[in-house]
Symmetry: D2
Subunit: 302 residues, 4 copies
């Protein structure tokens, strides 16, 4: 029945044929065909359901911020919160306004500034290569799949066109909230954003945030709750309230069109469609999750 539902969601997305705009700031993302859709669901009873372009790897972009956050909390624990807040931002994902108002403390770890600080915290005094190795290992273990890679072209393209992120990084550094130099922190940041996965891999990787999956207790339940809370209030930039309202369970979107979501104790989900809405979240991906929520009654809110 869930399999049939996913197939319906896939067909509906293609029939609506209203894909939104793909991200245009780097050639690698701008050239992607928007008319693509994939959805994968892993339920806690060990079943998996897939529909659509589930074998196409896509750039997970900001979805990677969830994994670096998990690692940062592992390394620093609560001290991370001295450097980054836990509040929705009420601004665009790459706004620098808020950063000035709050003197270099990003509002949360999922806007760009906050993710740069989180990356800096994971880096510590290690080499970027070593840190990226740790991030990839974490992801591969979570996904039970060694075939997760960084797309070097995407990473370098981000670096070349990353002036807005460089502005954020230099601003953070001017406030004393970036310990590595800008090139080092951003190099690492751009690389983990350039990880590519399929929805199959991403839905599996999300199991550790769900609770209830055997053998996927990679982090403690307290931390799982913390990360899900942050995804719920801050996971979709300035569309986070809308997502909570329409979908009703935690998720994190990326500008590559992916969304990773979890229905606690029920299922982990990955959806992908590269066209974006005005907040930078996948248009058909969000729509599919809303329909899935309505059809299944999956919601944390009753």
């Amino acid at each position: 029945m869930l399999q049939a539902l996913l197939e319906t969601l896939d067909r509906d997305a293609r029939q609506r044929n209203d894909w939104g705009q793909v991200a245009s700031y780097i050639p690698e993302l701008a050239s992607i065909d928007p008319a693509q859709f994939a959805i994968s669901v892993c339920t806690v009873d060990g079943q998996e359901y897939h529909a659509g372009d589930v074998q196409v790897p896509f750039s997970i972009q900001s979805v990677s911020k969830v994994f670096t956050l998990a690692l940062a909390l592992g390394r620093l624990g609560g001290r991370l919160w001295e450097r980054v807040g836990r509040e929705p931002s009420g601004r665009a994902f790459n706004s620098i306004v808020q950063l000035e108002r709050e003197q270099g403390i990003p509002r949360n770890p999922f806007i760009n500034a906050g993710a740069i600080v989180t990356t800096d915290a994971v880096l510590g005094q290690r080499a970027p290569r070593e840190t990226l190795g740790e991030i990839l290992s974490f992801l591969r273990e979570a996904a039970d799949d060694s075939d997760v890679h960084i797309n070097e072209y995407v990473a370098r393209s981000e670096q070349r066109t990353g002036d807005r992120n460089y502005a954020l990084a230099h601003f953070l550094r001017s406030c004393g909230n970036l310990h590595n130099d800008c090139d080092r922190a951003l190099g690492t940041y751009f690389h983990h954003c350039a990880i590519e996965m399929t929805t199959v891999q991403l839905a599996r990787a999300a199991r550790f945030l769900c609770g209830g999956f055997r053998g996927h207790r990679m982090i403690g339940i307290e931390r799982v709750r913390s990360i899900n809370a942050l995804m719920m209030t801050c996971g979709h930039y300035d569309g986070s309230g809308e997502f909570a309202y329409r979908v009703g369970f935690p998720g994190k979107s990326g500008v590559g069109g992916g969304i990773m979501a979890v229905v606690p104790n029920v299922a982990s989900i990955a959806v992908w469609s590269p066209g974006l809405d005005q907040y930078g979240n996948s248009k058909q991906g969000t729509k599919a999750l809303e329909s899935l929520s309505k059809a299944t009654g999956w919601s944390v809110f009753a």
Copy 2:
């Protein structure tokens, strides 16, 4: 066991003896003894648990915004969202800055500006008296208790000192987003904020938002989820992310020191302690909910 836990929470709050500041802008609130605490829990199996000053009525203030939202959604349905947003504000509860930036559309129904618009929507073209009657009836039915009243002194005191709210109302009106005149809309608003309840009454009143309580389906499940989502992302002003992170289930605070919360399908909760933290939320109330969440494992996030 839950009874013992609530008694521990009550004792801990009193032992910490760190009560925060009571709201000082009107004499009726400023003169309240901060060293008070009460907590009430209704579980879906029909049990109730209480500890502390559970028979002391307090001013529910912004908690009332949840009930007017429920009524506004009943009257207007989705059209309400043409006049008010569903996003966390990233600002103080009474900020007018955001209102100017977004041209008179408040970010959500729980900041003051949004609650004034919501009140205006519930009013429609009716008399304030009739509208307040409807709000009280709704609350009394939800609480199964006819002894819920408006404190007229508090309402009038708010009106006398309400320049910031008058500023918001006139600004809304200048943007065409207030249909009643300012006195009429604010008169109604100040009165429903001045409703007084005990935690016993408030915990019972919250059952309709919980799901799972027999005989408390006052609104449809879709609407319950919507309201809980809004409480989760916007229920504690600029401390909403923090509350989601620390407590892990939806709630709405008031400047009188009350917090109404729901653990979907599990329990409805009311806590009260009049001293506030820097965001205007009950200091010991929040702390107690955090401890309750930790001790019981109640969380929507896993």
Copy 3:
């Protein structure tokens, strides 16, 4: 020669036939024919030059703020600056954003919030009628003309539609920076903004700010310099820098299309054309002053 120049300016304005938009927020201003132009110049040698619709009285609106400022400085001296700043605002004339950021201290006496505070200071504990009498007397003396009146229709129309100004006034009052109640302060404010004058009257009235006119030392030279400095940096809302750049001497505009300007020790000027540019300043009025400056070399900047 100056006479010929003014006639050329008048003819040019009419030939360009590009009048801008008249203020639309009250019927009395919205219904004015934009295709009008008048200019009057008084030189320190006692000559006067006029061209265009110089006998048509117009609503001086914000130009009146210069006269209330002069009176406020006379009553309070430097203590006025504890309640209002002297910096350009970088915002629209009726913005409330800045007021929140600077906690109720308006940036300068020429934005609406600052002029409301200035009016409140001139009022003190007197009756509005008495205060308006003083303002009118001052203006009549400055203009050597008893035929200067308040248009009651305009004043009442402003009051009826003045929600934005009421929002500012209530906000100021919530910050403790409005001593009279909002109705009293705004009533006085709307009335002095509704004074009507011709360019002939207004150019004459401006002589006291020029220096060098015999018999027009109504205030000391120090205060003249102060007021001119404020007109230079803040006299045209968020177009003040532009006006200083293009015109090169101090002036104050009003939303009725009037501009009062002074070339220190040389001449006083009034120009009127009711169509406005995007900042709310007279479009053809500004253009005419720019041409006048170029043709005569009148500039304080060399």
Copy 4:
């Protein structure tokens, strides 16, 4: 008499012994003794007057922005204003907030972001070395003195600690308003800010902005007026209105404690005292100019 006055100003500054804080962000400026003062005046009749530490070269910092603006206007004419505005900013000199609000168009050429764009315009496609040579030549010719140099230590120190300026530059580039790369534009910017001059040299260099000096018509009178207008409305960051009010003629300050000022057709002035007020302008320098204005009656405002 003017000589005696300057000596009094020098003595008064030293007697007040209230020097403000020297700029602390680079060691070269932080280590300067704040108890220094110098003032130089050149009058249009060819006389010069000096008092205080007039032979001590100091870092002119933002005062250099006036000269690069003159050169940029020479190269681009009015096209410069497509890339930078002419309005006071209402913000700190290095704020990035405004830049986001106005989508990469700095408010004026004297805040840091605007000066970086202006430097970029002067650079065009030339080498930084060549451009700096042109700036130095211009300054040496203006000052009639070949002994004007760049302090390389200061320039390099700025570059090392210039994260806030790098943030601005990258932000500008992300908006398409920086044509050279950040290192190239900022390298040039930091170097021209690191020019060192005495008040004698700087007062002489300012003659070209005064009008009335024989042989100092380096730029046309129209441009002189334009630059003076900008210095009047934007020359002292968020203290520009205050400076216009208290001093009454145009000037430009630098964080090294220097102020260059002109009384059109009367005199050019340089004052230096390294301690700063809260806006980043020389505390005793501003005070001395205010006293000078009062004592001489020099003011453009009457």
